[in-house]
Amino acid sequence: MSKTLFDKVWYSHIVESFPKGPSVLYIDRHFIHEVTSPQAFEELKTRVLLIFKKERIIATVDHNVPTKNQHLPILDALSRKQVQILFENCKINGIDFFGLLHNYQGIVHIIGPELGYTLPGMTIVCGDSHTSTHGAFGSISFGIGTSQVSMVMASQCLLQKKPKQMRIHLVGLTKISVTPKDIILYIISKVGTDGAVGYFVEFSGKVFRRMSMEGRMTVCNMSIEIGAKGGLIAPDKTTLNYLNKIKFLPKDILLEEAMPYWRTLYTESDIFLDREYYFYASDITPMITYGTNPGMGFSIVRRIPKINVDYHQSISYMGFKAGYSLIGKPIQYVFIGSCTNARIEDLRIVANVVKNKKKAFHVLALIVPGSKQVIYQAKKEGLDIILKKSGFEFREPGCSACLGMNEDKLPFGAYCISTSNRNFVGRQGFGARTLLTSPLVAAIVAIEGKIIDVNNFYGKN
């Protein structure tokens, strides 16, 4: 029988399965961070259980850490306590911990791939919904809750029902100035925020084959926003090249033993999944969201549609009206960061746009690189100087203004062009209004101080 990529990875990790019930799924890699892990450690302590396999757990701090002056103690007492608790828990249990001053600290979903913890064919979990990022390597990765975090710690396994499978296929190639972020925002706007609940999504098509690993990670990262359990893309030459460049991986072992196995990881061509979507890649244009869920996105040049009452509410929260165009809207804040778009490739795009230009006077532009390694690479390429010269604030790694758990919150009613993944009500601060875009559009908005069509910008300059 033909098998899909998902099936191949899934069945190689089943320890035991109930008839018509959940299966016991073995987990290869477990990332933890400070916000969703303390209760899990507590749970183990009360049940007097030991960590099953500490080598498979990697801990870092990202969610509530400050992005300024990380060498100083954390100001917020509760945040400091959470970081402290994670550090102590890791120390007691012998778990690898990348603290604030560590060279490898960063957002979990960015350090995982870049340090070589994420490999094709793995099962990966983390107490964070955007764990689906790691699916870019052809691994089954999904977010879990804290109870499940404690389950994985205690047994390295999870009880999971096999999800249904969906394929999203893009036909043809995209236009220039369309970035991976635009592609996934387009898919979310078409499929809807609950269109894939209960499904695991595989992305296929020429566009994804030609996409860089960073781009694939952006796409898989936001696959959770269509309600999917996770997303994945079959590993190919690009994946192997990416892994080859990681300096921490022992190349000889990987190449000899793992490569032949990874080459078998693809969905066989004569198979139909439970649900299939086909889109034309040429339809995609630079996207922006206008509402309060990631599904409310459209091409940046369009006018806000009139749909139903629910939409009306979120549009009025955003301060828009049906029939209005977003072009020319003044913006006060630009945030470039988060596990969606804080990789080196995104910084390159931004630096390329803002080179020898100044940001608009009234805009506060924030760049929060995803990890210490990204900063290191950016400094090596001189990107930080370009960005600072254009008036951007170049911060230290963390989740920052994506969810506003640290000091980087937006004031009431402010508009923010954000390269993050969610535009929910009050996510970036009480009353803050988020517009999701690609880093390319965000950089252009920072220069212009208002929303502008990408093609017009390039026409002008």
Binding site: V15, E16, T193
Partner: protein, 211 residues
């Protein structure tokens, strides 16, 4: 974990669709290392203004409504995977959430904490919203064993589907950890023949040296 078998209670309706976990509990209130105490921040931004004043118009602030059942629109609990959402609902006193559709991770989190998510048809959900708008004192009964939800002392009921394993867990008040630990030996033997095992061992020995 608390057991659930039969629950008869009044309900609190919030007829809004796509309520995400950021609305249930905003990220700035996640800074606790305990499971308890999140109830006071449930629907924080809907219950209180920015200055901390009570918003009278929101239903949880209306003393006329009470109950252990929360009735919500479709696609409840989407967004962030924070289990704090389930904890805060449980801590506030809810034991059952009824909707026509739940986000995946929220559903699992709720089941792991003794909060029963009941998925019913959209038609029946709208019917329940209607009944409660006519009479807010109306009682709803949930029978987990028979997987039935109905309006108390009436014949209008609906079945809800439920995984058999999860159902027994809730009925007995057990959770997954108990089961997984009992598989200890099996997992150990699986690990040896697992795909990444051999490579990983050498990988780790090597990795310890650079740290």
């Amino acid at each position: 974990m608390e057991k659930i078998e039969i629950l008869v209670s009044r309900a609190i309706p919030i007829a809004i669709e796509n309520i995400d976990t950021d609305q249930i509990i905003p990220a700035r209130f996640l800074k606790s290392s305990k499971r308890q105490g999140f109830g006071s921040n449930l629907f924080r931004d809907w219950r209180y203004t920015n200055q901390g004043l009570v918003k009278e118009s929101f239903i949880l602030n209306n003393p006329k409504f009470s109950g252990k059942i929360l009735l919500v629109g479709r696609n409840f609990g989407s967004g962030s995977s924070r289990e704090h959402a389930a904890w805060s609902l449980f801590d506030y006193g809810f034991r059952v959430v009824i909707s026509s559709f739940f986000a995946d991770i929220f559903k699992e989190n709720a089941l792991n904490n003794g909060l029963l998510p009941i998925e019913i048809s959209e038609v029946y959900l709208q019917y329940l919203f209607k009944t409660i708008s006519y009479n807010r004192h109306i009682l709803y009964s949930v029978f987990l064993g028979r997987q039935i939800i109905k309006i108390d002392k009436s014949f209008f009921y609906d079945y809800f589907s439920m995984e058999k394993y999860k159902k027994t867990c809730l009925l007995k008040g057990q959770d997954d950890i108990d089961h997984l630990i009992s598989l200890y030996k099996k997992i150990k033997t699986f690990e040896v023949k697992s795909v990444f095992n051999d490579k990983e061992n050498s990988y780790f020995i090597w990795r310890w040296s650079w740290r």
